[in-house]
Structures are given as structure tokens and as C-alpha cells.
């Protein structure tokens, strides 16, 4: 059994590195805007049933800390591959577009789909993200193209 155990552990370790190395290169957020632009038209008009509700925003913040903070940072301003959630691109996206992105993820840019979280909780997260407001200091790479529609 030992002959397989050691190569197996080595392989596992190397995979961990392989996964980690894709973190290293700095990416701009264009992939996210392209992904948002893929959201079906009907999703744009989806309304967030929790929008502006303080309890839901507080619950959304709790969920953000559990699921999103690891990549998007404590201040939600992004980290390496993860975009700034206070950028104009995210803040100007409709709740429906964000709901679509959260459900489907952006797997080619390392964002997993979060469909395993109940829909209600995803809306609570979006209510929290929207409550953050735009960050005036967002860098150029964190700024969305002028119009999502132009990417469609």
C-alpha cells in the first residue's frame, strides 16, 4: 500500500500548488463584466425581495463573512482574482444580474457557483453588497466597461 500512498500524497500536494499558482497572476475584472453581460435579459428585471431591509442586510453581511470574504476581502474591495464589489461595475449591475452571477459563478475566473446556498440567502448577500455603495477610489481595472450591453 505504501508505494501508492506516498505518490498519492505527493500528487495531492502538487495539485494544491497547481491550484494555488493560478492565484498568483493579477487579473483585471473584465472577465466578471463579460460574465455579467451573459446574464439572460429576463434576469435583469428580477427584484430583490430583501432590498433595503436592515435585517436582511445584516444577515447578508453575516453570509458575506462566511462565504465571500475569503476571496473578496474583509472590506469587499477585492483581492487578486476577485473583483472589487464596491466598484461601479458591481454597484451599477441590477440585482437580477448579480443574482444570476452568484448562482452561476464565473468558473473560468475561479468564482464557484453558489447555487448550493438557498436563493433567499443569495438575495440577502446581494442586499448587503448593494448597501455598501460605490467606492470612489476604485482603480481603473475595477471599473466596468461603459455599458454591459455593449459586451453582449
Amino acid at each position: 500500500m505504501r508505494p501508492l500512498l506516498i505518490p498519492g500524497l505527493l500528487l495531492f500536494g502538487s495539485l494544491a500548488f497547481a491550484g494555488a499558482t493560478t492565484h498568483t497572476h493579477k487579473t483585471d475584472d473584465r472577465g466578471v463584466w463579460l460574465e455579467i453581460a451573459q446574464a439572460p435579459v429576463k434576469t435583469r428585471d428580477w427584484k430583490n425581495p430583501y432590498e433595503g431591509k436592515p435585517e436582511a442586510i445584516a444577515a447578508g453581511e453575516k453570509l458575506f463573512r462566511q462565504h465571500c470574504e475569503e476571496c473578496h476581502g474583509e472590506d469587499s474591495k477585492g483581492h487578486r482574482h476577485a473583483p472589487n464589489l464596491r466598484s461601479s461595475g458591481v454597484q451599477n449591475a441590477t440585482p437580477g444580474e448579480l443574482a444570476w452571477l452568484l448562482r452561476n459563478g464565473n468558473m473560468t475566473h475561479r468564482m464557484p457557483p453558489w447555487a448550493g446556498i438557498p436563493e433567499q440567502r443569495r438575495w440577502q448577500i446581494i442586499a448587503y453588497i448593494k448597501s455598501l455603495g460605490a467606492d470612489p477610489g476604485a482603480s481603473a481595472t475595477n471599473t466596468a466597461p461603459a455599458s454591459h450591453g455593449s459586451l453582449r
Binding site: G8, A20, T21, A59, E70, R103, P112, G116, R121, Q124
Partner: protein, 305 residues
């Protein structure tokens, strides 16, 4: 004392107690400093859903199964899993299996290496996942992570010294189909397993359904609240082989499941399973704990910068 007496010049690293102590210190340090994340996993023991490990996260899992046995002693089979999200569409997992049979012995029964791939990059009504696993185990393995072919409880009655001498190299593939609807998860797995020796393909199935007790989150931080509890059930069994595609001689189980997902990344799971026919073990109790370490890959790499 016996371990200390073996410590000589340069032999300190070979002392088993010291090695275990160093391992525990390193593990606890890693856990203490690791960012904890909360996974979005389903609570199944046998079935798989389409939700993969988040990229860069490592989940350390330890599970056990207690089974009643006709014709031999009951058994406990613990196994450990290391699950890593290589990308958002690829999860790899390494298993170490063992078992103890009452009135017999305790044996290490082998290792398994599993990979799951999501071929579609968006969510659909039904989401497929392709699963490939290589198993290097002995016939003494009783983890019952899957039931295929005409597996029955009588296979597990073989004494450990005989079963452990028989090695099996197997490839297992699964087509995982899974859907989420209004907080429910529905998963269907179609299993094919092939011993790399001259044996036919064996087939099996696993079905799972689960749902959190509460769909909305509350603003308060809580551990023992309804939003952290997931209930469900799974059913699994064999479907015969390429030589004899029949339900005759196969075994089948149904098992309710309860899981508690704590916000700090720890999940506790429990499932009492019940055999549905005479070929099945009468009772299979499963329990386990998992711990998710967020950003493990990045942390590991930063150590070597």
C-alpha cells in the same frame, strides 16, 4: 516510557510519540491560523451532488460507519478524506480507509483517489458531474462508500486475515446528476465499477435529497439554529453486473441524514441507514466531522515564497 527509552542520539525524530506530537502541533497551528470558510455542501455520505469544493479550499474530513453483520462480528470502518478544490470545476479527493471487526482484528484497508469534473460552466435544471476514482483497497474494506453489483453483507463476513490478503485495484466512474430547487437538492448517481483484473463491470445507484431547515439566514451569529441544520435522506444499492444485469442478489439501503454546519467551517453529520432486503446489513450507522480551510492552496504556496 518505552518510547522514551528508544531515544538515542539522532533518534529523537524516530520516536513515534514525538512524531505524533509534532504532527498535532503543526496541524493545530494550521487550523488555528487558517481562515475558516463555510462550505455549501450537501450532507450526503454516499450520494454526490454537483456542488464541488471551492477553489483553493481544503476540507479535512473524518467519517466512520458501524455495521451489523450476520455470520461474523459487527464492524466499525473509519476513513479520512482530504478534499481540495483545484479549480471551480475540478475537485480532487484522497481517502485512507481502515476497519475494525469485533472479535477479529483491525486493519488498514487501502487508499482511494477521486476526481470530480463539471463539464458545464453554468447552472442548469440538471447539472452533470463526471466522477473518476482509482481504488487500491483490499477485500477487507468495509467503508461502503458505494454499493455495486451484487455486493451483499455476506461478502463482509470473511475473516480479516483472508480478506486483507486479497488486493483489488478498481476504477470507479459515476455520472452525477444534481438539481437545486427552492432550497432542495436532488441528486442521482449512476455508478460503474471495474476491477482491473478479469471481472465484469458492476453497476449501482445512489439517490439523495436534502434541504436546510430554514432557507433565510438570521442576522444573529448562531451555532445551533435551524439555518445551520440540514436534513435529508439517501437511498443506494447495486444493480448487477454486465454478466447479470438484475436486482436479484443485490443489496439496498435507505438512510435519513442530519447535518449541522457551523459558521466556523466545522460540519457534523449523522445518518442511520437500514437494509431493505436480506442481502443488506440490517443497520449501518454513519457519522463524521469535516473542517474547511479557506485559501489553503494560497497559504501553502506563501510558505515557500
Amino acid at each position: 516510557m518505552s518510547s522514551l527509552s528508544s531515544v538515542g542520539s539522532g533518534g529523537v525524530w524516530r520516536t513515534p510519540v514525538l512524531r505524533i506530537a509534532i504532527f498535532l502541533v503543526l496541524l493545530l497551528s494550521a487550523l488555528g491560523f487558517a481562515p475558516r470558510t463555510c462550505a455549501q455542501e450537501t450532507p450526503y455520505f454516499v450520494a454526490y451532488s454537483h456542488h464541488l469544493e471551492e477553489p483553493g479550499n481544503l476540507e479535512i474530513e473524518t467519517y466512520s460507519i458501524y455495521g451489523t453483520q450476520k455470520g461474523a462480528g459487527d464492524f466499525i470502518a473509519p476513513w479520512m478524506e482530504l478534499e481540495y478544490g483545484v479549480t471551480a470545476w475540478w475537485t480532487t479527493e484522497f481517502y485512507i480507509d481502515s476497519q475494525h471487526t469485533f472479535g477479529d482484528s483491525t486493519v488498514f484497508t487501502g487508499t482511494r483517489w477521486e476526481n470530480r469534473f463539471r463539464p458545464l460552466m453554468h447552472e442548469h435544471w440538471i447539472n452533470p458531474v463526471l466522477y473518476v476514482e482509482f481504488e487500491n483497497i483490499t477485500d477487507a474494506d468495509k467503508t461502503l462508500k458505494e454499493v455495486v453489483g451484487s455486493d451483499s453483507q455476506f461478502d463482509a463476513a470473511e475473516p480479516n486475515f483472508e480478506a486483507d490478503a486479497s488486493h483489488a485495484h478498481e476504477i470507479e466512474t459515476k455520472l452525477i446528476l444534481s438539481s437545486d430547487y427552492k432550497g432542495w437538492n436532488f441528486s442521482e448517481n449512476f455508478i460503474s465499477e471495474k476491477n482491473l483484473g478479469h471481472e465484469p463491470w458492476e453497476f449501482g445507484y445512489a439517490l439523495g435529497v436534502s434541504r436546510p431547515l430554514r432557507l433565510e439566514a438570521t442576522p444573529q451569529h448562531c451555532n445551533f439554529c435551524r439555518e445551520n441544520i440540514i436534513l435529508g435522506a439517501e437511498m443506494y444499492g447495486g444493480l448487477g453486473t454486465t454478466d447479470l444485469l438484475t436486482l436479484s442478489g443485490t443489496s439496498h439501503y435507505v438512510a435519513p441524514i442530519a447535518a449541522l454546519q457551523l459558521p466556523n467551517g466545522v460540519t457534523f453529520s449523522f445518518s442511520p441507514g437500514f437494509g431493505l432486503n436480506d442481502n443488506s446489513h440490517r443497520v449501518l450507522l454513519r457519522w463524521g466531522m469535516s473542517y474547511e480551510i479557506g485559501g489553503f492552496g494560497r497559504k501553502l504556496r506563501s510558505l515557500f515564497r
